[in-house]
Symmetry: C2
């Protein structure tokens, strides 16, 4: 075997950029691996951020097959907490010449934290390629402010909890489509956008569901279902989100994800338990109360 | 315990209407069960029809928890064939007071045929309820013909392979949205529409992807991801399908499902391997060749 061939057979997955985001150590033979839940990968309350679970599933599937993830759905089963080591194991349900069908189970000890199903695939030469939707016309990232709501932009700060994640609220050039909200998102300090990167930044449907219902807040995602195209180079990703419906406390929504140049790079959908909802009036009243209380607090 | 209480505790799932569609025998305690793949539940080539797998997963999740399915993604791993008995087992990953998180594995002997992830839930009293999208304006079912294409309507016959399934091609009242096609679907001889019934009739995204690409044909679904609202009484279901993109032979698309009265009853998405595609011209030429050959065939 020549040196050139050997070099070509170096594992391509997980991508270096992905390991910068989530320090996932994968076994080269099986793809099984583990990562520690750090504060940067957790929600402000120290629990697993959904985007981290979805991205780790993508990384594990790609590492196990050395193929690009095609679609991945991740179900969030139980909470993990900052400091814990999450073991991610990949089961190869069917390993075809092109398509690999996979099942992922992530555990901390004997607790199942998240599970995934999905496929990764080698390209089919000459296979159908095309984009059948136009990019929605929205304000460019440089003309958009941080996620704004109410006096304190509390919602924006809450969502951009990680220094790696940045969100900006876009406005539609034409009439706002029903149930829709548009967000520009980017990852900072990560070398290039990948499928795992898109999974990391796309856990935003619950916010769109509450917005569609005229509320502020969100809920907790039960799952994140993602379908990927090829990912071109782009700094910002447009998430065109759509809150679709809610039934007795459970909401569904979807999104398309776009490069700055108008390439459709992923689609997705989520179901969420919509338990953290407030009326905008109520929220403003609370924020005024908090501000008053802060003004009265003795100086330390 | 009074007789009335006992009667109220009779298992409500699987629904009778669902068992009329798929003769799924569920163990009352575990929800695990089995069904035989009959010709009515198979594709014309005798292999498992994707909608059957998705519907059986919904039935198993509901039987195991006695709760309505909230979302279910079903991955099609390997083929089963007419006559085979498919065993469906349900693993309760997390069993909350309201939300049950589930994983389904369907096997024939030691072959995994399909897998699912999903949740079933009891309603949350006073929980967020709303519909944030308007129904698309399309021609009513009575004004629509069977799925038409080309001289022989071959595609329509192919898709309505089961006498239980009927499809009609709807036309949009306004401009056809990019990548979209609208189909009215109904189940015949089944007592009422359920979540499993919607799963059974909603395996149509691959057709929408090929249409969006200007082709005839379809592909094989790798999965079917479904999210359910409450299902009102309706004879026909409108599938508003959208072919979104294809990359090197793999296509993604989504749909919304509507009652005749305009209630959004489900949303879904699928990824498919797009391997059975023809140009319309090529198809017409073949059909003419077949017709000529038939005319020349000696009478028996």
């Amino acid at each position: 075997m020549s040196e050139a061939t050997e070099a070509a057979e170096e594992p391509s997955y997980p991508h270096l950029a992905d390991v910068e985001l989530i320090a996932f150590r994968a076994d080269a033979a099986t793809g099984d691996g583990q990562f520690q839940l750090t504060p940067a990968l957790a929600r402000p309350d120290g629990a697993l951020y959904g985007g981290t679970g979805a991205a780790a599933s993508v990384m594990a599937m790609e590492a196990a097959t050395q193929r690009d993830a095609l679609w991945v759905v991740t179900q969030f089963v139980a909470q993990a907490h900052v400091g814990e080591i999450i073991d991610v194991s990949v089961e190869k349900l069917a390993l075809g010449k092109r398509i690999a069908q996979l099942r992922v189970t992530a555990t901390v000890g004997d607790r199942t934290i998240f599970c995934s199903l999905g496929a990764a695939a080698h390209p089919r030469p000459g296979g159908l390629t095309g984009q059948f939707l136009p990019m929605p016309a929205v304000s460019p990232p440089d003309d958009c402010g941080p996620m704004p709501f109410g006096p304190g932009s509390g919602e924006g700060r809450e969502m951009a909890f990680s220094r790696r994640l940045e969100f900006r609220m876009a406005t539609y050039a034409d009439a706002q489509p029903p149930g829709s909200m548009a967000i520009w998102a980017r990852l900072n300090g990560v070398g290039g956008l990948t499928r795992a990167g898109v999974a990391y930044l796309a856990d935003m449907v619950p916010v769109a569901i509450s917005r569609a219902a005229g509320k502020i807040g969100g809920g907790f995602s039960l799952d994140n279902s993602l379908r990927f195209a090829n990912i071109p180079e782009t700094e910002w990703v447009l998430l065109d989100l759509r809150g679709e419906l809610a039934t007795t406390g459970y909401g569904h929504g979807s999104f398309t994800a776009w490069s700055e140049d108008g390439a459709l790079i992923a689609t997705g959908s989520q179901t969420a338990s919509m338990v953290h909802l407030f009326d905008p009036d109520q929220m403003e009243q609370w924020q005024r109360s908090i501000a008053s209380a802060a003004a009265l607090r003795p100086q330390r």
